[in-house]
């Protein structure tokens, strides 16, 4: 069966005591946690340092989720989506996972509507940010805080 604990949950100091088997599972090598870029650095990497304006982007995410393994996210951008004025890309970044990047979606004018939805992992309660790159080279963003609660019953490693 499941050989590994299904733990992406590095929030609780990276340590999870697994029931029954009494194994101590180190969910996250701490060194890597320290080297991840900050949310700001990750956004800068996407925009190439171009200032990001607030507005136009709507980030929908439940404020409180039952399980961080699949958090539904919808991003909508105000845009006519014409050949001359459209959303080129939408990027998602997180504050506290081992890596800041979540995904980058490439749309273009043929999308017809500037909206994407997906499901993402959140290791712990944290801030999420969505950044949209428009066809005129401008960047717009919106952020949201998500509280992640945990499921109660856990499993053995057998």
């Amino acid at each position: 069966m499941s050989v590994a604990k299904h733990k992406f949950r590095v929030g609780r100091r990276g340590l999870i005591l697994v029931g029954g088997a009494g194994l101590l599972v180190l969910a996250l090598p701490p060194a890597r946690a320290l080297t991840r870029p900050s949310l700001q650095e990750a956004v800068n990497g996407f925009t190439g340092g171009t200032p990001v304006e607030t507005g136009k982007v709507k980030l929908d995410v439940p404020p409180l989720v039952e399980n961080g393994n699949a958090v539904g996210v919808t991003v909508t951008v105000e845009s006519p989506m014409t050949a001359g004025d459209h959303v080129r890309r939408i990027a998602l970044f997180n504050e506290k996972n081992p890596q800041a990047d979540v995904a980058v979606f490439t749309l273009g004018s043929r999308a017809g509507r500037a909206r994407i939805a997906t499901r993402i992992r959140l290791a712990t309660s944290q801030t999420l940010i969505a950044v949209a790159e428009l066809s005129d080279g401008s960047y717009w963003s919106s952020s949201a805080n998500v509280i992640v609660t945990l499921a109660a019953c856990i499993e053995d490693l057998s």
Partner: protein
């Protein structure tokens, strides 16, 4: 074995914006988990997803380990003509899985 699930409307009017959803069975192993033996489980994720409409790419995405297992994405495109939408998922090893759906446009 079918391990992908795409939803595309069967019919649409030319110029209509259609909703598309695509999902594939994949563990999206993050590379950050430890097995019971204390060894890190190697990373293995779908890295790239793309949708072509009659041969032209209309949407794509780059995924990182923070995408959920069995990754799901919903997006839209403008129905232009009757044809085939093809979906491509590429994993870390370069392995490609595909799915397709037909649309009749009037």
């Amino acid at each position: 074995m079918s391990r992908t699930l795409v939803s595309v409307p069967k019919t649409a009017r030319a110029g209509e914006v259609i909703d598309i959803r695509a999902m594939i069975a994949h563990p999206m192993e993050t590379g950050y988990r430890m097995g019971p033996n204390g060894q890190a489980i190697p990373r293995k994720i779908i890295r790239h997803f793309a949708c072509d409409y009659d041969g032209e790419e209309v949407f794509s995405a780059e995924f990182h380990p923070a995408m959920s297992a069995n990754p799901f994405v919903a997006f839209s495109t403008v129905a232009t003509k009757t044809g085939t939408l093809t979906f491509r998922w590429t994993d870390d090893d370069g392995k490609v899985e595909t799915a397709s759906a037909e649309i009749a446009v009037s």
